[in-house]
């Protein structure tokens, strides 16, 4: 069952000297129990997309200027703020990259957890306390009853991230948005946290949107993935299909530009040339064109839509049978993807 539906979402930031085209018509759906990865380089709109879903865009600069977000029957983009506040945490919860931004530094972890539970779950203080202990235990905090009295700064980075996850899962939300939940952590701690998220979501059937720039994390954690570039989804499909047969030149570039731990051949890395896009310029043509080795004249003039890579395939948007789609006029072949560059002679920028 589809829980969350994002349709043609457009977000702009109006700053003193420019308009930032942060999200430019993003559409995707999320069904119960699945884990969707959002990948792409810094500034491509991953966080802004999720903040828009949560209606937590920085004010007054950030505005949803188009599209809708629907959770079950509720159109979130039209919901009054008090109803939205009710829904946050209870139906859709978010784990932020920097836990200190969402933990209150002057309240103990116990106070924060019990307040949330009492407000939303009509529990007595005693019941809420017992549940808080259980939650901390579930995320692997040792001696949870004594740790309830500790303040956020008294926890290590990994522990704080666990507390954040405990808070996000306190009300058993249907959707969990995790924005780079492990980026600031060491790899051995990252492995602990990802293991935890994997087990919890399997136990509760929570649908997860996992934002990361680490393709390894995507490969290990997600069933489906959206690759974003310059505020667009440029490729989507099941994680297995997308990694095995990347079609969009940007995805191809990402996969060829990172060294792999299990690479014994010392293959040359193929960097993506050029610079990340300037988001203050209104997009025209394909956003990846300035850096694309596959580019042809048409690319500069017309922005391709996200279409099935096998033309005419019916579109399935969610689950293990999701249709592989890419937004590209001249998608890479498997051979080109392995090579990291176009093989045909005509045209091209490189």
């Amino acid at each position: 069952m589809v829980l969350l539906s994002v349709a043609d979402l457009e977000v702009r930031f109006h700053t003193a000297d420019a308009t930032v085209h942060a999200v430019n018509g993003v559409s995707f759906e999320l069904e119960e129990g699945e884990t969707l990865g959002l990948v792409g380089e810094s500034g491509c709109g991953k966080s802004v997309t999720s903040l828009a879903i949560m209606r937590l865009l920085p004010q007054p600069a950030g505005r949803i200027t188009g599209g809708t977000v629907t959770f079950r029957d509720a159109i979130l983009t039209e919901l009054p703020e008090d109803e939205m506040r009710d829904l946050r945490g209870k139906e859709i919860a978010m784990v932020f990259q920097d836990p200190m931004t969402s933990l209150n530094p002057v309240l103990t972890v116990g106070e924060q957890l019990t307040e949330t539970l009492m407000a939303h779950r009509q529990m007595t203080r005693q019941q809420a306390r017992a549940r808080a202990v259980a939650l901390l235990e579930m995320v692997g905090i040792p001696r949870p009853a004594t740790r309830l009295g500790a303040y956020p700064h008294q926890f290590s980075g990994g522990m704080r991230q666990r507390v954040m996850i405990a808070m996000a899962l306190a009300l058993e939300p249907k959707v969990l948005i995790a924005d780079e939940p492990t980026t600031a952590l060491d790899v051995t701690i990252q492995a602990q946290i990802l293991d935890l998220v994997r087990n919890l979501t399997a136990d509760f059937g929570t649908a997860v949107i996992l934002i990361t720039h680490d393709l390894g994390v995507v490969a290990g954690m997600t069933g489906r993935v959206n690759v974003m570039y310059a505020g667009f989804v440029v490729e989507t499909g099941t994680t297995a299909e997308l990694f095995a047969h990347p079609r969009h030149p940007y995805t191809v570039g990402l996969l060829r530009s990172i060294p792999r731990l299990d690479d014994t051949r010392h293959e040359d890395l193929v960097p993506i040339e050029g610079q990340p896009p300037d988001m203050t310029v209104a997009p025209r043509g394909c956003p990846f064109a300035p850096r694309c080795a596959w580019r042809e004249e048409r690319c500069v003039a017309e922005n391709p839509a996200l279409e099935p890579v096998v033309p005419g395939t019916p579109i399935v948007t969610t689950g293990p049978g999701a249709t592989h789609r890419a937004a590209c006029w001249y998608p890479a072949t498997d051979e080109e993807a392995r090579h990291g560059a176009p093989l045909r002679a005509a045209g091209g920028a490189a």
Binding site: S156, D186, G216, A219, L261
Partner: protein, 356 residues
Amino acid sequence: MSTSDGALLRVEGLRVYFPIKSGIILERHVGDVRAVDGVDFELRRGETLGLVGESGCGKTTTGRAIVRLYRPTAGSIRFDGQELAGLEGEALRRVRRQMQMIFQDPFASLNPRMTLGSIVKEPLTIHGIGSPKEREGRVRQLLEVVGLNPGFVNRYPHEFSGGQRQRIGVARALAVQPDLVVADEPISALDVSIQAQILNLLERLQGEFGLTYLFIAHDLSVVRHISDRVAVMYVGRIAEVASSRDIFLGPLHPYTVALLSAIPIPDPAVEARRRRIILKGDVPNPVAPPPGCRFHTRCWLRGRLGNPAECEAVDPRVRDLAAGHQVACHFAEQVDGSAEQRLVTGRGAPPASSPA
């Protein structure tokens, strides 16, 4: 520790402590952050040694002590036969010309009020290299070498992207034609799409100028790609040093094995088959490192062996287990051929029971 000919740099017993003071009026010395606490390794001319380990294990402090941005608390740093540990003044300035550092944060490490040209020229001026006119020429040449447009000399750092700023840092480091470059996480702050640009640049320059690199990183995939040899640090110490091949195909320290197992591989088919060694707990605090073996609070092998007393009581010395392969673990022999080792090297079938 065995030494071999051709060592450009030899570090022995290096310690760098940061004192912790307390009290407002009378500052009392109440303890030390033992950031680097007895480290030995050597760097051969023309090679790349990767220095890896988790946050706070002492990588940056080691690198900064080598180029003598920090004064070592104890130990010896021999560079090209010369002892650097106690060096001061003019003599220090002279050897510094041979050792340069590239910093992690290309945003913080460049003076925002200096132009590109003056940033790259500064080390030439400090070391009195060339006439003013020759310096201008050298700057242009360096910018070309690192792939920056020499026409940009009058621009300021904020006008460049992260990748371009890191190129500026590389050009600046190369200006004085150093022998040794300490690159401290040179790509960590960059977007994945441009990390490869800088990695390829560093590899190319090494070939062109015969540079020796100490390459500091926490990302083992990157380290595997660029390094000839790898040193793994844990809480101020070296846990294991070996050729890149041996570290990745035959790791012998339980920490190295766990670290390798924790790194995600960008391949869903590989990830689906993979099992991880999930370490318990956090990295210990270097103010009071665990007694005995520093890894004993998290070690998966110790439990397997029935918690032998040595692990908690005796600090394991670095031992030679094979030619050029040094390990600081009492029971490293037990790692060789273990299911866990096979798990991370991809050799043999995964073990029937889940590890640790």
